[in-house]
């Protein structure tokens, strides 16, 4: 009798253990990860956010949708990108999750001008910083900065609101991007382009002179508001502050225009945050650029850029003439089509 009861107790224990433990435990990858990927001699860095969804993981890389699937400790991450010639492709990362790290190998999928050799990738859980409380420790940005190789994932699709998606449907970058007709591309795109810029520091401001389109912007360090009659513009109104040794620039008073190469909108209420940090040797400057604009984005898009100090570099003049752009459309009989889409241009 006692023996029998013990057996049934043991059986019940086994059954409950079996119910509690799935056949293959799936790694818990929910959270924020700093993803890095090695392509030959350059390292791409991005923020990977993973949430639990009803049918699986819901993932975003740099604010744009990505795919994450897990099977036991195995993980597959797929994210799209656009290379410098405008070709769109995927990066497929496969690997293993081990607690707070994951790593594996990746490959480029689809044709691209910028060929990437298969290489390693890894991710670590993001460590939250409390830089906002740190006392200001400014560094001197004076000088000329030339872009290093791209370290941005150049995420192609972003998480857009319905209004953001609706705008993109009829957008044709070749005809509608402002810079094809020599009009300012503005921020945030300008801060991510691979052309040099020069910084002049004076008492309460930084002046940035960008080679691309010969644009100038002022970053006020005295918390001033835009002047009463200053209209919104593509460079907006920028205020800078120091959080520890990070220069944080917040830009408002922006024109409604496009954010980047794909032509997603930014509204007049957009706020652009740029965070600039300098390497210990003072020679490498890194920026993380985030757009807060809930009107068109359901998640803030993120871009990154890095430069090295190169005071010997010249800022070349940028003389722009859209003549051949219009002439080509005239020759191809496309001018009527171009005029019909005036509402797609800023």
């Amino acid at each position: 009798m006692i023996q029998l009861r013990r057996n049934s107790l043991l059986s019940a224990l086994w059954v409950s253990l079996l119910i509690a433990m799935p056949v293959v435990a799936t790694a818990d990858v929910e959270g924020r990860w700093i993803l890095s990927l090695q392509d030959k001699n350059r390292t791409l860095v991005g923020l990977l956010e993973i949430d639990k969804g009803e049918g699986g993981w819901i993932a975003h890389l740099e604010g744009g949708p990505a795919s994450v699937t897990t099977d036991g400790d195995n993980i597959v991450i797929v994210a799209d990108s656009r290379d410098v010639r405008g070709f769109v492709f995927d990066r497929r990362m496969t690997g293993i999750v081990d607690g707070d790290t994951m790593k594996g190998t990746y490959a480029q999928v689809g044709a691209a001008a910028q060929k990437e050799a298969p290489g390693p990738w890894s991710a670590k859980r993001e460590i939250a910083e409390s830089a906002a409380l740190a006392r200001p420790m400014p560094f001197d940005l004076t000088g000329t900065w030339t872009a290093t190789q791209e370290l941005d994932f150049r995420k192609y699709t972003m998480s857009l609101t319905d209004a953001g998606e609706a705008w993109l449907e009829g957008y044709l970058p070749y005809y509608d991007q402002p810079d094809v007709r020599c009009t300012s591309i503005g921020l945030p795109a300008l801060a991510t382009y691979s052309f040099p810029f020069e910084v002049i520091s004076t008492d309460n401001r930084l002046t940035m002179i960008y080679e691309y389109q010969s644009r100038v912007r002022r970053i006020w360090l005295d918390e001033r508001a835009p002047g009463e009659f200053v209209p919104p513009s593509r460079m907006g109104h920028s205020n800078g502050r120091w959080e520890g040794s990070t220069l944080v620039i917040e830009t408002t008073n922006l024109d409604k225009t496009v954010r980047d190469f794909r032509g997603e909108l930014i509204s007049e209420n957009a706020v652009i945050e740029e965070r600039y940090a300098l390497s210990d040797d003072g020679n490498t400057l890194t920026a993380v650029i985030t757009v807060q604009d809930p009107e068109y984005y359901s998640r803030p898009p993120v871009r990154r850029r890095q430069w090295v100090r190169n005071d010997a570099a010249d800022i070349f003049p940028y003389t722009c003439d859209p003549d051949s752009f219009y002439l080509k459309m005239y020759e191809d009989g496309e001018l009527d089509m171009y005029l019909d889409r005036t509402d797609k241009r800023f």
Binding site: F316, S324, G333
Partner: protein
């Protein structure tokens, strides 16, 4: 002369496809949007430069090449912004109207006669590389 970058047989197929696309593009001209290039279609064009726009936002050369019918056709070749090329010593005088050159690059979508320049070989053998900024 338009020379394939891939084996001959594959190119014949592509030319056929190109011809079909050209017909389709012509029939549908209002909807054929130019200046989009295809990442997996490259070609080499040998010919004579007939026009030069060495200006931002993009450098543009027109090049006249012999076609398969014994005639000539003009292709529109696009390069990087001037500031990018000038920094490497590639200026408005590097390639002039009348120069014989060989261009290699990505083909335009839908068989449009456009090329996104990767390299240009000058008559003296100099190879200019237009590697878009990363």
């Amino acid at each position: 002369m338009m020379r394939p970058s891939k084996p001959y047989a594959a190119w014949v197929l592509k030319l056929t496809a190109l011809a079909i696309c050209l017909v389709a593009a012509h029939a549908n001209a209002h909807h054929s949007f130019t200046a989009e290039f295809v990442a997996d279609k490259t070609a080499t064009l040998s010919g004579t430069i007939s026009q030069v726009w060495f200006k931002n936002p993009h450098v543009r050369y027109l090049i006249v090449v012999a076609n398969a019918d014994g005639g000539e056709e003009t292709w529109d070749a696009r390069g990087s912004p001037v500031v990018w090329l000038a920094r490497k010593g590639w200026t408005k005088d590097t390639i002039k109207v009348g120069d014989q050159v060989e261009m290699y690059g990505y083909l335009g979508r839908d068989g449009i006669k456009m090329l996104s320049i990767m390299t240009i070989t000058l008559a003296d053998g100099t190879v200019l590389v237009d590697k878009a900024p990363e």
